[in-house]
C-alpha cells in the first residue's frame, strides 16, 4: 500500500450528508486519494456509497464539507462548472453499463471526447484505439446489442478512460457479471487506471472486487474507516 500523497487527486474534508427525513448518512467524512491510487469503498446497502460518488461527481450537494478534484474545489462551481469538471476530469463506470444502444461501440467510447470538443472522426479514432486496449479490437463498428455483459463493461471502461481523466468513479462495476468475467474486468480496470495515472474510487460490496484496490475503506455514518477496523 502506498503512503499518503502530497498532492491528492481527490480531497474530501468534513463532508456531511443527510437524506430527506433528516437521517444522517455520514458526517465528518475525510478522504484523500493520490494519483495512481485505487480506493475501494465498501459498506452495507443504503449506507450512502452511491450518494458519496454522486457528491464527488458534483451530481448531488453535501450539507457541509469540501470536495476538491485535482485541486479544484467543487463548491466554487455552479452547475455548468461542475458539468465541465466532470467532462474533463472524471470517468465513470456503472454497474448497469449504460451503453447507448443506438450508437456504435466506437461512438459510445468517443462520447467524452466529442463532448470535450474533439471532432467526430478524431474521437472515433482514439476510441478505436481504446477499444483495442480493452480487448475489443476490430469491434468498433459493432452495436451494443451484439455484445455480452462482460464485453459491454469493457466498453464502459474504455469510455471512462478515453479522455484521460484525473479521477475514475466506479459504482459496482462487476455487480452484473459472473465471477470469472468480473475478475477479468477488475484486472483490466486496475491495469488501465494505473497506466493512465488517474486516481479511482471503486464502490463495491464484493471483497473480491475490493482486493484490486490499494486501500479498502468502509463507509459508516461516522465517515470512512479502514475496512478491517470493525
Amino acid at each position: 500500500m502506498r503512503g499518503p500523497p502530497t498532492s491528492p487527486m481527490l480531497a474530501l474534508t468534513g463532508l456531511r450528508k443527510t437524506v430527506p427525513g433528516g437521517r444522517v448518512l455520514f458526517e465528518a467524512l475525510d478522504l484523500e486519494v493520490a494519483p495512481d491510487e485505487i480506493v475501494a469503498v465498501m459498506g452495507e446497502s443504503g449506507v450512502g456509497k452511491s450518494t458519496l460518488l454522486n457528491l464527488v461527481a458534483g451530481l448531488d450537494e453535501a450539507d457541509s464539507g469540501r470536495i476538491a478534484i485535482a485541486g479544484q474545489p467543487l463548491e466554487a462551481l455552479d452547475d455548468d462548472g461542475r458539468t465541465r469538471l466532470r467532462r474533463d476530469k472524471i470517468g465513470f463506470v456503472f454497474q448497469a453499463f449504460h451503453i447507448l444502444p443506438h450508437l456504435s461501440l466506437a461512438q459510445n467510447v468517443a462520447l467524452p471526447l466529442v463532448l470535450q470538443g474533439a471532432g467526430g472522426a478524431v474521437g472515433v479514432e482514439r476510441a478505436t484505439a481504446m477499444l483495442d486496449a480493452v480487448g475489443l479490437a476490430g469491434r468498433a463498428a459493432a452495436r451494443p446489442s451484439q455484445l455480452s455483459g462482460g464485453e459491454l463493461q469493457r466498453v464502459a471502461l474504455a469510455r471512462a478512460l478515453v479522455h484521460r481523466p484525473a479521477l475514475v468513479l466506479a459504482d459496482e462495476p462487476t455487480g452484473n457479471l459472473d465471477p470469472e468475467t468480473a475478475d477479468r474486468i477488475l484486472h483490466l480496470f486496475a491495469q488501465q487506471v494505473r497506466g493512465s495515472g488517474a486516481a479511482a474510487i471503486l464502490v463495491t460490496h464484493s471483497e473480491r472486487a475490493a482486493a484490486v484496490a490499494d486501500r479498502r475503506l468502509r463507509l459508516t455514518s461516522a465517515g470512512l474507516v479502514p475496512h478491517d477496523a470493525r
Partner: protein
Amino acid sequence: MTPAEGRRFSATALAWMMLGEWRAHPGRVVVAALAVAVGVALGFAVHLINGSAQAELSRAMRTINAEADLAVRASTPLGFDEALYATLARAPGIAAASPVVELPARFGAGLPKSFQGSGLSLLGLDPLRAGEVTPSLVATAAGLAASAPERVFDADVVSLSPAALTASGAKLGQRVIITAGGRSATFRVGGILPLGDGAQQIAVIDIAAAQWAFGCLGRLQRIDLTLAPGAASPRVEADLRKRLPAEAQVVTDSTQARRGDNLTLAYRVNLQMLALVALLTGAFLVYSAQSLSVARRRPQFALLRVLGLERRGLLAQVLAEGVVVGGTGALLGLGLGLGLAAATLRILGGDLGSGFFQGATPDLVVEPLAALVFFALGLAAALLGSVLPALEAGRARPGIALKDLGDPGEGDTRRSALWGLGLLAAGALAALAPAVYGVSLFGYLSIGLLLAGGVAAMPWLARTLLAPLQRAAPRGVVLELALSRLWGAPSQAAVALCGIVASVSLMAAMGVMVTSLRGSVDDWLGDILPGDMLFRVESGGFDPDQQARIAAAPGITGVLFQKSLPMQLSPDHPPAMLVVRRVAAGAPVDALPIIGRTAQVPAGATPVWISEPASRLYGIAVGERLTLPLPRAPEVFVAGVWRDYARQAGAIAMDDADYAKLTGDRMRNEASVTLQPGVRPRAAARAIRAAVPAELAAQVQFVETSQMRAIALRVFDSSFALTYALEAIAIAVGLAGVAATMSAQTLARTKEFGMLRHVGVLRRQIIAMLACEGAALGAVGLVAGLGLGLAMSQVLIHVVNPQSFHWTMETRIPLGLFASLAAGLIGACALTAVLSGRRALSADAVRAVREDW
C-alpha cells in the same frame, strides 16, 4: 474549451444522438412530422386558394370598372334615373363622366346551360364618353373587325373581351345572341376589347342599344367618373353623396375591395382557423411523441449529463429534434399544400364549393411570404410541442435518473387541475367577447383555450375518471394490474391521452356543429319551401296578366309569386336581397320562419321582416326604422327577424302589395305552386309554360319542392366537404398519434413485462392486461374528448357561427357519430396496445429484465 469547440461538440453529439434515436424509432418521427405536415398543408392550401380566388375577384372588379377614378353605382338592378348623369357630369371636381348600363347576361337564347349561367357582363356605353373615362372598354384599332372599323358602336355591333370571345365560340364579324333581363338580341362581333387574356367575360354595346334591346329605357346602373386634375377624391366623394338619390352610391376601389373581402372573410377565416386547429393537433402529437421519447431516454440523458453535457445541451437536443421534425414536416406540408391547392382549384374552384365566387377557375397564385409564414408556423408548432419535454429533460437529476427503471415519476395532479381549470375558465371568458372586425377571433381563442385547458387537466381528470374503477377493486389479476398501472401513472396516461383528447374533442365539436346546422337548415327548408313545385326565370319576370293566367292554369290549386332583388344597403357590404312575397303583417309566421319577438306595426308604417344575418350585419333590431334604397327612399318598420341560411349577406322580406305600392313594379320572377291532388308536376309545368309567351316559356325553370330540398342539402354537404375532409384528416392524424403513443409506451415497458413473466404472469394475461389498459385509456380519452368537444361545439354554435356567419341554430347531438367514434377509438387503442405488447413480449423475458434500456 473555447466557445467554438463547445459548438462543435454540440453539433456532433446532437447529430449522433438524434440520428441514433431516429434510426431506432423512425415510425414515431414520421408520424410527428406528418402531423405537422398535415396542418401546414391544410393551412397553406386554404391560404393559396383564397389568395388566388381573391386575386381573380379583384382582377374581375378592376376589369369591369376599368380605369375610372370613381364610380356611382345603382343600389339595386332596377338602376337609377339617367338624369343623374347630367347632374354628375357638371359636379365640381369631375373632369369627365361616362354613363353605363350594366346587366348580367349570357350568350344564346333559351335555357342556360347551367344554373349559374355563363357569367357574362353586358355593358352599354357611350363611345365618346367611355373613350375619355374608361378607354380599355372601347375596342382599339388593333382589335376592330377589318371590314368595318368605324361601325364598332353601331346598334347591332358588340365588342367582346378575349374571354367572352372564346366563350361565345364566334369569330370577328360573326353574329352572337345575347340574353339579358329576360330578352334576347342578336349582335355582330365587331371588336375585341384591349383587356388582355384575363378570365373576365365582358360584352360592350352602344348604351342606347342596350337600353332599347333589354328594356331599361331611361335607367342606368353605373356612371364612371374621372376627377379633375388636383381634385381631392374624398372631398369630391362627399360632395357627390349629397347629390345622389337613395338608389345610387359612390363606389371606390377601397369600398369594392372591402365588399369583396367581406363577402368571404368569415368563410376564409373559418377554414383558416380549422387548418390552424389541425396544426395545433399536430403540436399536441409532437408533444406526445417528444414527451414519451424524453421519458424513455431519461437514463440516456442522465448518462450524458454525467459525462459532461450541460443542461442547456440537453434542452438544445430535444428542441433541435423538434426543429428537424417541424422543419421536415413543414417543408413536406408546403409541397402537399401547393399540390392540394392546385388540385382543389381545378376540381372545386376558388370558392371551395361554397358558391361565393362564380365564373372562371382562378390561376394558382403562389405567395413566397405566405410559404415562409406557414413554414414558421409548422416549426413553431413542433417547437411548442417540444418545449415542455425539453424542459423536463433538462430538469432531470442525473444521479437519480441513472437509477431509473424507465417510468418517470408522477407529479402532483392537483397542479394539473389548477392549470386546466384556469385555462378552461379563460376559455369560457373569451367566448363572451364580441367579434373583431367581423371575425370571431375570441371565439377561436376560446376554443384553443378550452382545448389547452382540457389537455392540461388530463392527469387530474384521468385519475378522477379512473377512481370509481379503482375503488371497485376489480376481480382478476389482469384488470387489477391494468387499472393499477393507469391509476398509478396518470401523467403518462395524460401524455398518451393528449393527442386523443385533442383530436376527439375537435372531431366532436365539428360533428355537433355541422349536425346542428344541417338539422336547422333541414327544418328551415321545410318552412321556406311551401307548395309542391317551384319555378323561376333567370331575368325579367311575369307581369300581372301572366301571373293571373298561370294561377288559372289547369291542375293548380294556388300560386305564390315572389321576387328577389339585390339591394345595396351599404357600399362596404355585399348586396342584401329584398325578398318580395305575400306576408301578412298580423301573421308573418305563416310566410316566414320568424325567430324571437315581433313588433306591432304602427299605423301607416310599411312593415319589413329582416333576416337574422341582416340583423347582425347591419345591427338592426326589431322595432327600428330603416330607409331602403328604392325609388323615393321609403322608410320601413322592422317588424320581426326571420331565420335564413340561404343569403349570408342578409335579406329583407316585404309584403308583395307594399312593394308594388312603393315601386310600381309588379313583375315577379319566382313562384311556388300547390298542385291539385293527383296532378303530376310535369303536367303542371306544361300548363304553366302554355300560359305565358313562348320566349318567356323557354326560360322558365321548374323544380319540385322535394327535389329542391334534396338539392339544397346536397349543396350544404358539398359546401362542408372541405370541413368533412379536415375532420377525416384530424381523425386519421389523431389515430396515428394514438397508435404511436400506445406503441411507444408499451415498448418502453419491456422490462416490466419481463418481470411479470418471471413472477408467473402468463403471456396471454399480459396481452389481456394491455388490451384492458388500452381500452380504459381510450374510454377515458373518449369521455374527456367528448365532454370537451361538446363545450367547444357550444362556442362554435353560439359564438363563432353567429359572429362569423350571422346565423344561429339549435344544438343537435350526432349520436351515430359519437357511437362509431367510441367503438373505433376504444377498439383502436386496445388493438394498438395489444400489437405493441406482442412486439414487446417477443423479446426474451429474461433478457428484458437484464438489459439496460
